[in-house]
């Protein structure tokens, strides 16, 4: 009940902002919904955006279960894309797709995990706070990528900082004319995998124990340092898959800022999905629909921009995260009155 009330509060505030701008909120809502779900094409876009949100949402959720707050999804996704892109650029002339695609996916996971491993190591062995270090690493990732794209990986003769295009064997099968590609299947597999891992393996059990009560985890024989590394590497690998969807699925080359905003939105997705893979999936679908519907809305009404979606994401984080307890007294009063 509480999550739905929190979302409703977020949307009421958005409605007020839309009204302040001078647009009828109900018209905006109708345009948003038809823009997200009104045609097969728009549903395809919604699912494509939802794929990214699933990856970053799962990434935040896995770390949350271990009691770690990974705000570095942004940088891990960026590096994941770099890993995936480097693997393809190195091998796409020689390997067939069925061999190259798994290698590139593994490279994305490896690079994303490696970028998360440094803050994890600093937390586990040197006691530096993971929130601060993952934030810092987002900026370092961004500086690194700009350097690599401008100076090293830029395609010869290109005016914009992007790599050469991937050969067909380095491109994921996609639905013709849509950005929706095989990454969606990877996202669904990740949901299932995270569920199995967290609730049906001894490591997942130890990971969740560490998140609930580190002392109990130590008593149970868990090595907290190694578990911190495991949780963050998994988290980083999941975030890194954004690169698979964006670069191998859509852009077919390495570009700058393909990950922009997805890492942070993952926090909202995880909060809304209550850190459960199924919840994350549902929240990701909602966020995908918002992203696509918001784009259509901005197209229809020029005084509203796409950034309205960013406002909604911020409000959802606020109301279902930081202010989650706000409506509790009201609900308690409501149910207390109903009960005899």
């Amino acid at each position: 009940m509480l999550p739905l009330v929190n979302i409703a509060l977020a949307f009421i505030v958005v409605g007020i902002i839309v009204a302040i701008i001078g647009v009828d909120p109900f018209l905006a809502l109708r345009l948003l919904v038809t823009g997200a779900l009104g045609s097969w094409e728009s549903i395809g876009y919604t699912l494509y955006y939802a794929t990214n949100f699933t990856f970053t949402g799962l990434a935040v959720a896995v770390a949350f279960h271990a009691g770690l707050f990974n705000i570095g999804g942004e940088g891990q996704a960026y590096l994941g894309g770099l890993g995936c892109g480097l693997a393809i650029l190195a091998l796409d002339r020689w390997l067939p797709a069925w061999l190259l695609i798994p290698i590139a996916i593994a490279a994305a996971a490896l690079f994303g995990a490696a970028w998360a491993a440094v803050p994890a190591w600093l937390q586990a062995w040197r006691g530096s706070h993971i929130v601060i270090t993952t934030i810092m690493f987002n900026f370092v990732a961004s500086a690194l990528m700009v350097y690599l794209m401008v100076n090293v990986l830029i395609a010869p003769g290109s005016m914009t900082p992007q790599s050469r295009g991937f050969a067909p064997s380095g491109q994921l099968p996609a639905i013709a004319g849509l950005p929706l590609n095989l990454s969606l299947a990877l996202a669904l597999a990740c949901c299932a995998g995270v569920w199995v891992f967290l609730w049906h393996t001894p490591w997942g059990y130890a990971l969740r124990t560490m998140g609930h009560n580190p002392e109990a985890a130590v008593y149970g024989g868990t090595n907290l340092r190694r578990m911190t590394m495991l949780a963050m590497c998994l988290s980083g690998a999941l975030a890194g898959f954004v690169g698979v969807n964006e670069l191998m699925g859509v852009h077919h080359r390495i570009v700058l800022d393909f990950q922009a905003g997805y890492g942070f939105a993952g926090i909202a997705v995880a909060l809304m999905g209550r850190n459960h893979p199924l919840g994350v999936l549902l929240a990701a679908l909602l966020f995908g629909a918002l992203q696509q519907g918001g784009a259509e809305l901005a197209f229809e009404i020029p005084s509203i921009t796409r950034e309205m979606v960013v406002v909604i994401q911020g409000l959802i984080i606020l109301f279902s995260g930081a202010l989650a307890h706000l409506p509790r007294p009201w609900l308690q009063a409501l149910f207390a009155r109903r009960a005899p």
Binding site: I132, M136, F264, L318, A322, L323
Partner: protein
């Protein structure tokens, strides 16, 4: 000789220009963190303040109205942060992240709706901006001096006043403050509001002092660099100022070194220098350069026993 002097002067001026918003923001964050409230949302507060400063200055024609609007906007977000973290005992990092995202979106949404310039405000001229006071080529507007003044004032308040003592206590051990009969919540709200005030000034400096108008995402991570400066300064005012000046100097150097080949080193990537504040802070946090210890109760909501 004259050339060398003017080079040093220009470097110093440009260091100070870049460091000003960092110093203001870092002093604000210092109050908040000393009081036990972690503030990841400095960036968002500064961005929102920058937008409202430029928007108000361009509509009213007065830079001072812009400064006032900036402070009000930042205080509104500070109150929101306080409401979430103090009154409702929510997660302080989550609240800060929410404020950053909200500000990033809302500034563009409102900017586009009001000015129809793709998120920018109209360029500001004349009295709509804060002008240099004494040295036109150095850009020393009133907020530069406010930033320099904020450091001794912050030090004095935190280290030498009754409020400062209580503030530090509430950041280290709120239970003791509560037992002494003081309100933990009211002390923390004051800390958060001081933070909002200074972050608001920092934002105003960006859009109506250093630049002539607001552009989207114009804070570009400076709120996080200020956060890094607080950590680098080990939660003390003067060392934090030092960190801000080092980071400002790095930025000034980065601009100068663009495309320059250094003897023996070759071309230093500008991106490496830009990433230095973050890398240095990571090294510090890892314990390779001394030890940085945060206020003990920072990030922990205080729950009064029933």
């Amino acid at each position: 000789m004259d050339e060398a002097f003017s080079f040093v002067f220009l470097m110093l001026a440009s260091t100070l220009r870049v460091a000003t918003p960092l110093v203001l923001c870092a002093m604000g964050g210092l109050f908040s963190e000393k009081g036990g409230i972690v503030d990841v949302g400095l960036e968002g507060k500064m961005l929102m303040a920058a937008f409202f400063a430029a928007a108000t200055a361009s509509v009213t024609g007065s830079a001072w109205a812009g400064v006032a609007a900036a402070v009000i906007a930042a205080e509104a977000l500070a109150l929101l942060h306080g409401l979430a973290c103090i009154t409702y005992r929510g997660n302080q990092v989550v609240s800060g992240v929410a404020i950053n995202i909200l500000a990033a979106g809302l500034t563009v949404v409102l900017g586009t709706a009001w000015f129809a310039r793709g998120g920018q405000t109209p360029p500001l001229v004349g009295d709509q901006r804060l002008m240099p006071l004494f040295l036109p080529e150095a850009g020393d507007n009133v907020l530069v001096y406010a930033a320099l003044l904020s450091v001794p004032v912050t030090w004095w308040i935190v280290a030498r006043t009754r409020f400062g003592l209580r503030l530090r206590a509430v950041g280290e051990m709120p239970l003791a403050v509560d037992a002494a009969g003081l309100s933990v919540a009211w002390l923390r709200y004051r800390a958060v509001l001081l933070c909002g005030l200074l972050a608001g000034l920092a934002g105003a400096y960006l859009s109506i002092g250093q630049n002539a108008g607001f552009s989207r995402d114009m804070t570009a991570g400076q709120g996080f660099i200020a956060l890094a400066a607080i950590i680098f300064g080990k939660w003390r005012a003067w060392p934090a100022l030092g960190a801000c000046l080092i980071f400002g100097l790095l930025d000034a150097v980065a601009i100068r070194l663009q495309g320059v080949r250094l003897p023996g080193l070759g071309e230093v990537p500008v991106q490496l220098i830009q990433a230095m504040p973050y890398l240095l802070t990571m090294f510090l946090l890892a314990g390779f350069i001394g030890r940085a210890v945060a206020p003990k109760a920072a990030g922990v909501p205080y729950e009064k026993e029933r």
